[in-house]
Symmetry: C2
Subunit: 370 residues, 2 copies
């Protein structure tokens, strides 16, 4: 009998660099161990990172390299923890690496997995943090305006393809405009979505190739500040030239759904109720969720997510999360509709939740036809 | 007695997005589970990602969303694995999230941690992969040339500060030149180092503020291709105007150390022997490693690292890793010297290891004084 093939499980998600940055106030290196005891922290890094971090971490954080605790880089995190922690009961996050956990257990440590977020305070932004997200969002708005100007000024060819003079206007060219504009404002765009026509029907398709008139073009711009590490997030959908009636109807529905969700936002409201406000509005206007030929269509994602040192962080605003919004949360409100035969519409703003309402961090025009 | 504060351990490192991308041939979303059985894989993603990935994954990968296997997004990865894997013995990497591991154990799975890399084949690059790194490296060389031209053409003020006309030349301005040049070549620079004077003494300090004549300026450029996801990596150190004798001596030593390491490179050679070749050359020239006032100085990092879908990947070339180089490895060779009272020198090229020698992927001039 043939031996069955081994089953590997891989998870493509990671969370802790943002927590380490938040707690230390400095950009963490690739491999670093932070031992947080109450309000004090010990950050263990390589010799080459030691001096930079010693200069840049915030008060209460002690930076060490393995040689300072009688270990070595080669011996690795389990040995560093063994050499610097006397307490035997450790709390770790759900994302803690299993291999390291097993080594620590063999060294006599007891690990308790905390299902709670390790830095729940990250969800409530300070004034400085709101200002950092706002700066990133300003860059996003500037880039959006530049992209829309470029698309609006394109000529429509006989074939419906957009042209700037003799040159066909492509998603890549608009993305370049966006990225250069962001760069001039210390924003780094790891990914930028310029998804025209059929591409717009997949929410995270980045988009390639020529852009056309009369089709939706989803522009989703999410820069990270190279200085602060905080993100901004902004989406608009535009159409060069007259939009088909069905697309206009979709656009108006998504815009109304965004308004409905925004109207629902204030401290104390449940995240899933905010999602329900957006979903309900789309449903009332006849836009249903269904799976056709195996492809889910309609409003196929959550209404929003927290934004801070991660582009997607807590609190999530979706049907899957039942959590109270709190003043100081920064979240996106971004309903969308996606149908392969027409394309997609998404409208997204990043807002701060307040006691009685919300504040759009940086306003940006909403207009389908350009 | 006061209850002792709880000890949290955080690790700022994550690896699996690159493995998932490698195995699936498509950009994985933030949360995805890949179940790899022999050569076949099942990728479980959210409804919103389903169609995009179904279109873009490579042969042998089946894309599913939780609803297709009788689960839901809300139920999470443990339930998705339970619903789609019948085999009870699973192999996971050392970085596998502990929380998920515990849930799987409670569901009756047995987890075996593989200390080996999950995708060891990633270390041996195919012709397409070499070409992808080479393209990223071409962008890096173009950006390096643009940065050096900008620094070389700056005037030296009476105060030693560099100026372009009336404007003081800053690290931020040179970084902008680099990033815009990369962008025009589909390169994204998450971090770029333009570290002048004292900043250059910390290998990973990004650098800020005015640049000066007669001081080292470390330019470390490592773009990721927005198209392929592969990285390039290139470092040069320059000095505007005449360099102090001590700096020249350091530069020549680092250049000789790089040559010595390169001469040692071929398939079958041990990584730590390549590192020893560089370290030996620096030592012979009188550049010692020591810790002064708590700050490690000298050659305080490894000689190089693999480059591919991660900027730092296996094989590492350092005293801590004893591993045979193989033809098809792509590695950097980047010795450096760092002394707080003078600054730092680093020279780095990215090379492909061949049967008998090595190939520099894209040549780039080495010159200290400009």
């Amino acid at each position: 009998m043939k031996k069955p093939a081994s089953v590997h499980i891989l998870i493509s998600s990671a969370k802790n660099a943002a927590n380490v940055r938040y707690l230390c106030g400095a950009e963490p290196p690739e491999t670093a161990v932070l031992i947080q005891t109450g309000r004090r922290g010990t950050l263990i890094v390589s010799e080459m990172e030691y001096n930079r971090l010693r200069r840049t971490v915030k008060r209460g954080i002690t930076v060490l390299h393995p040689e300072m605790i009688g270990s070595s880089w080669k011996k690795g995190p389990a040995d560093w923890i063994k050499k610097s922690v006397t307490e035997k009961k450790l709390i770790v996050g759900t994302d803690f690496p299993l291999g390291l956990a097993e080594k620590l257990k063999r060294a006599g440590f007891k690990l308790k997995i905390s299902e709670e977020a390790i830095c729940p305070q990250r969800e409530i932004k300070t004034a400085d943090e709101i200002s950092a997200v706002q700066n990133a969002q300003r860059a996003a708005v500037a880039a959006m305006n530049a992209a829309i100007k470029q698309i609006a000024s394109a000529e429509i060819g006989q074939d419906g393809i957009l042209r700037c003079g003799q040159t066909v206007l492509t998603a890549e060219m608009v993305r370049a405009t966006i990225c250069h504009t962001l760069l001039d404002r210390e924003g780094i765009a790891l990914e930028t979505i310029v998804a025209g026509g059929p591409h717009s029907a997949d929410p995270h398709e980045r988009g390639t190739g020529p852009l056309r008139a009369g089709q939706p073009i989803v522009l989703d711009i999410f820069p990270r500040s190279a200085v602060t590490g905080y993100w901004g997030d902004l989406t608009r959908t535009v159409c060069r030239g007259p939009a088909p009636a069905e697309l206009k109807k979709m656009y108006n529905a998504v815009k109304a759904a965004q308004s409905a969700a925004l109207q629902a936002v204030k401290a104390g409201v449940w995240t899933d109720d905010v999602h329900a406000a957006a979903a309900g509005e789309l449903d009332r206007r006849g836009f249903k969720n269904e799976t056709i030929d195996g492809v889910p269509q309609g409003f196929i994602h959550g209404t929003g997510h927290g934004v801070g040192l991660e582009i997607h962080e807590a609190p999530r605003v979706s049907s899957a999360v039942h959590k109270k919004l709190r003043a100081g949360n920064i979240i996106t409100i971004e309903p969308g509709l996606y149908y392969p035969h027409i394309g997609g519409i998404r409208i997204e703003d990043t807002i701060a939740v307040t006691k009685d309402s919300y504040k759009i961090l940086v306003p940006c025009l909403k207009k389908l036809e350009i």
